[in-house]
Amino acid sequence: MIAIQNMTKVYGEGEAAVHALGGVSLEIGKGEWVAITGPSGSGKSTLMHIIGCLDSPTSGAYSLNGVEVSGMNDTQLAAVRNREIGFVFQSFNLLSRVDALGQVMLPLQYQRGEKRLPRGERSKRARDMLGLVGLGERTHHRPTELSGGQQQRVAIARALAQQPSILLADEPTGNLDSKSGAEVMEIFHRLHREQGLTVVMVTHDPKVAAQAERVIHFQDGLIAEPEQQGFDQAQPKGFDQAQPKGGA
């Protein structure tokens, strides 16, 4: 489903260049739940953004569902983002002043082609998705009227609205208290279990990573211990705050 070959990503140029990814190869199969972990600056988020087509690699190949993505233009990438990928951000990224229903309908606006949902059916789809994350009663609440956990659940409903093949989540519980975080994780579990959704999640929370079927650990822009099962619980504290190498 996801096949990445020898991917690099370099920010900046010359002396100040930062090698966020130093030649990563990776495959993720359909229906897998993968957690990507590693310290800050290890390249895990960069990889995630590239998988989500939000960023482009400096070199290397990326194929999604058998389609090569790395050479696509802006319009083609937009279609892939719209059709194949549901993205959940750490900071929710909801539009202020738009109610929950409007948030979930946002990706439906940008549909193209046969999968395009008639305007009248979109609000029904959005309501269904909000129901799926347990917010069926809060369709007309704006982000400021929702708790952090509820906002993240709206964001998940939005990511699911297009019925994507992959759900990507970048630190989905990072801005939440443990109770809300657990609720959000429960939703991911349910989606994975009941709908067979492929889930790729970036986290530095060992408890969150431990819930995944497979953990990929990143270190200095490379996969450190490929296919390691089970997270190293003895990791020293403060490890997450390690500074990126080669930074300015």
């Binding site: 953004h49 937009a78 983002r81 719209n82 202020s96 946002l106 606006q109 940008y110």
Partner: protein
């Protein structure tokens, strides 16, 4: 996305931040309204000034003492003692200027006119009976100055309609005695014998405000209208030309006559000037053009300020909008989708602001017109200029930051601070 969908998205985008939308629109409104109001007032002032000249009669020549200069259309009395009553009589002689239909000399000065407790400072014009016909005036009630008044230095006065109202309020001035201050001290008592019909429109010479007396009375009893040789002076000789096409010819005839009378050689610069209606109009148009340009510059500055207002709001909101753009792109929007949305938002704001600005600008112009301060003429040019500029600024600054943001990769736009 189809156009209807884009329109709905744009509308939601505007509706989501009403304050931002309102402030942006305000820039357009101020720009459009100020340009329309200022240009309309400029046009109105120009027309009321030039209109008063053409309204005074289309075939008039003025002979004035001294050299005619821009802005010095009416030389103050006594400033130049070169034009005499005898000169006027010479011009009136058909042997000298055969085509002068009416020759109406005048001696005008400014002084105080008093009746009871009412007191106005106005122009007192000494005239001959020809004056009435020369300026196409009509006597509303009573009579005008007669030959007898002129030869007998009669202490009579004919009032302009406004002057009559200012001095007498509601009641009948005819037969009443007004007092006219002599610039040298003392007062002359005059009996009101007639009132002119309102002439209207003419703000330049303003006959409605005039107090008209026999020319001999003005020269000898009120003002000191004599030169060192004891000749009677005039401040202007108004000549009506019978045939409008011969204005230039008659101007030459008068020039030649007066140069000879004043002892100049032909072709020399005399101590008088002959000015036609057309000359006056040209000079005044020059002046009013400066006024229109001046107002236009102010209007342009208003547009600029309005434009900067639009620009500021658009640029200030760029952080929030950039993240919104990033999010929309992450959800599958293409660059075209984003630009369409922002273009439509800018069009809606600019057009709505433009429409409100037109309404406000036209309203101000009509209000100024109605207040009587000056005329205001609303021209399609002004509206077109104002709207096209504001809409252009609105569109440019609405799209320019959006275009930049739409070109970013989604993750860059999402991280934008």
């Amino acid at each position: 996305m189809d156009w209807l969908e884009s329109l709905i998205t744009a509308w939601h985008g505007l509706n989501a931040n009403k304050v931002r939308s309102g402030l942006t629109m305000l820039g357009v409104i101020i720009g459009v309204a100020s340009v329309i109001a200022l240009l309309s007032i400029g046009q109105g002032v120009q027309q009321s000034i030039t209109g008063s000249i053409t309204g005074a009669g289309s075939n008039l020549l003025f002979v004035a003492p001294g050299s005619f200069q821009m802005g010095g259309v009416e030389a103050p009395s006594g400033s130049s003692a070169s034009l005499t009553y005898a000169d006027a009589q010479a011009i009136a002689d058909p042997r000298n200027v055969p085509d002068a239909a009416i020759v109406a000399p005048e001696f005008t000065g400014n002084t105080q006119v008093i009746f009871g407790s009412a007191n106005i400072n106005t122009k007192v014009t000494g005239v001959t009976p020809e004056y009435l016909a020369a300026f196409g005036m009509e006597v509303g009630r009573g009579r005008f100055i007669t030959e007898g008044d002129v030869s007998g230095r009669g202490t009579v006065a004919v009032l302009g309609s406004t002057a009559a109202k200012d001095l007498f309020g509601g009641f009948d001035p005819i037969g009443q005695k007004i007092k006219v201050s002599m610039p040298g001290g003392g007062r002359v008592s005059l009996t009101v014998v007639g009132i002119l019909s309102p002439q209207g429109g003419s703000r330049f010479s303003d006959p409605d405000n005039a107090v008209i007396v026999p020319i001999t009375t003005a020269q000898t009893k009120i003002f000191d209208g004599r030169n060192a040789q004891g000749e009677s002076l005039v401040t202007s000789v108004n000549v009506v030309v019978g045939n409008e096409e011969r204005v230039d010819e008659i101007t030459d005839q008068i020039n030649t006559l007066l140069l000879k009378r004043h002892g100049f050689k032909p072709g020399e610069e005399g101590d008088f000037s002959v000015v036609s209606q057309a000359d006056l109009l040209a000079t005044l148009t020059q002046v009013t053009n400066i006024l229109v340009v001046f107002l236009g510059v102010i209007a342009a500055i208003s547009l600029l300020v309005g434009g900067i207002g639009i620009m500021n709001i658009m640029l200030v909101s760029v952080t929030e909008r950039t993240r919104e753009i990033g999010l929309r792109k992450a959800m599958g929007a293409t660059k075209v989708d984003i630009l369409t949305q922002f273009l439509l938002e800018a069009i809606i704001l600019s057009l709505a602001g433009g429409a409100l600005g037109i309404a406000l600008g036209v309203g101000i112009a009509l209000l100024v017109d109605a207040s009587g301060m000056t005329h205001a003429i609303i021209t399609p040019d002004a509206i077109l200029l104002a709207v096209s500029f504001s809409v252009a600024v609105g569109l440019f600054f609405g799209i320019y930051p959006a275009n930049h943001a739409a070109g970013l990769r989604p993750i860059e736009a999402l991280r934008y601070e």
